[in-house]
Each structure stands twice: as structure tokens, then as C-alpha cells.
Symmetry: C2
DNA sequence: CAGGATCCCACCAGATACTG
DNA sequence: CAGTATCTGGTGGGATCCTG
């Protein structure tokens, strides 16, 4: 806990000096296994815990809890618990989180457009290795 | 080894059914700790092993080797070895890799513009927790 | 329903030493 | 210079059981 990214350069400038650091800070948090998927789902509107669980095939309850907490910690989503029986908790994007929509969409579109090519490249590469590269 | 993403939908369409799968496939490969940083560096032009090592603070030789190999396997970069003494190896983006430029830039710009807000949110969240939230 | 606590394995990745 | 090979510890994350 407690990283401490150096914030010695302006807010809206791409300062070359710690460009890599900036990327590391965003990749390690936004780019982990589940965050982007949850962000993408929540862009469509608020959702409850179990909804997110089913909308994210392969995620465990544990990882959903942890990932949501990290996103909340970073101010990308909010958590609202209703004191009802049975309990209900809703997660929704913050203003900051919503600004992630465009970059995330860009990456998803690239993935959708090029996944087939990537898979083909992988197969070709593996063939070459097996052949005795 | 050997995933096998289902490719039952069109190449240029965002098919809702396996949207999450598409994202997983791109996140696990492109979104790991080092790939995006290397992609970003190589967008500026070809580079040698040691250049990439120094341009990527914190990476080990081992991880650089492995990450480069994965990127080559996916067809995002090419590796060219020159039979010289001392040896020289140059890595450069492929056409496919170059198309990643825009989405990656988008994410980097978001990171640069909002990292300070995120760090502040984190600190505020941690304060609340410590206070006894 | 929405988590918390605990156990435990698998894999990631750093350190080190060696090679073409 | 540009890797490879091996060992090892740390930790991410699943499985399981328990709570409000």
C-alpha cells in the first residue's frame, strides 16, 4: 500500500520525463485483469453486485469485491448500499470514471477488429517454433 | 499455451455476446505490465534491446525478453537480428502494431490528465478508512 | 444479497550465473 | 551485446465457510 507517484509536472501536460511512470500507474490499476471489463459494463448504467458477477464471466466474488473497491478508491465508481432486507448495493460510474469511456472504447474496438489477426499470428508463430525455428 | 478465442462474429463488428471475451483477450496480452510501455516506446521508431531496457525503468532483462517475444508472437512487433560482433537486435512495430498507436495514446493521455486526481482520491479514501469508516 | 475471513496452490517475476 | 537456464520467494486469486 502507498505508492506515491511523483507529481512534479503539470496536470494537463504529457511530461516526457515520467511518461513511463504515468503509464505504469494507469496500467497497474486500470489495466488489471478485471477493471476494464467492469468499467465497460458500468458505462451502460448502474448495476448491482450480482449483476456485475454475471456480466463478467470468469470473475470470482472475491475478485469482484476487491476490484470494485479499488475502483471506488480511485474515484472511478461509487458504491451505494441500501439498508434493506435483502441488502442491495449499487455501483455506478463517477464523472471521472465516465471520462474513461472514450479511451476504453478505443481499445475495445481495436481488440474487436484485430483479435482474429492476432490469433492467426500466434498460430503461425507457434508453427514456426515447432518446425524448428 | 493455446487459448482459442471463439471467432463466431464478424471482424469489424462489436458483437455483444462475447464482448467480455474480446476484452479479456486483449487485456491479458496487451494490458499486462510492460507491453503498453514497450508499444509506446517503439511507436517512435525501432530500438535495440538495451535501449528498451533503459527506456523502461523497472523492467528486468528476463521480462523484457519475454514481453518482446509475446509481442512478436502476436504480430505487433518484428525482431531482426544482425550477425555481427557484437550482436545487434532491432525491434520495430509492424503495420498491425502501428494501428495500436491511437488507442494507446488515448489511454496515455487520460492517465496523464487524471493521475493527480486519482492519487488524491486514493488518499482521501484511505483517510476515511483510517478514521473508522 | 453482498460481502468478510481463511487456507492454499500456481504462477509471476527477480536474482544469479552462464552462453553465442 | 543479447540473450538463456535455473532456483526461489512473493502474491494473485480460487475454493470454501461464515456473517449482517
Amino acid at each position: 500500500m502507498g505508492d506515491g507517484v511523483s507529481t512534479t509536472c503539470g496536470e494537463d501536460a504529457l511530461c516526457e520525463a515520467d511518461g513511463p511512470d504515468v503509464m505504469r500507474s494507469v496500467i497497474e490499476r486500470i489495466g488489471d485483469k478485471w477493471s476494464l471489463l467492469l468499467i465497460r459494463t458500468l458505462q451502460d448504467g448502474p448495476a448491482r453486485f450480482t449483476e456485475l458477477l454475471r456480466a463478467t464471466p470468469g470473475i470470482s466474488r472475491r475478485m469482484l469485491t476487491l476490484t470494485l473497491r479499488n475502483l471506488e478508491r480511485d474515484g472511478l465508481i461509487t458504491r451505494e448500499a441500501f439498508a434493506e432486507i435483502p441488502p442491495r448495493v449499487e455501483y455506478s460510474m463517477t464523472q471521472l470514471g465516465l471520462t474513461l469511456n472514450e479511451p476504453v472504447r478505443g481499445l475495445m474496438q481495436w481488440a474487436a477488429a484485430n483479435q482474429i489477426a492476432v490469433v492467426a499470428n500466434r498460430a503461425a508463430y507457434d508453427d514456426r517454433e515447432v518446425a524448428g525455428g
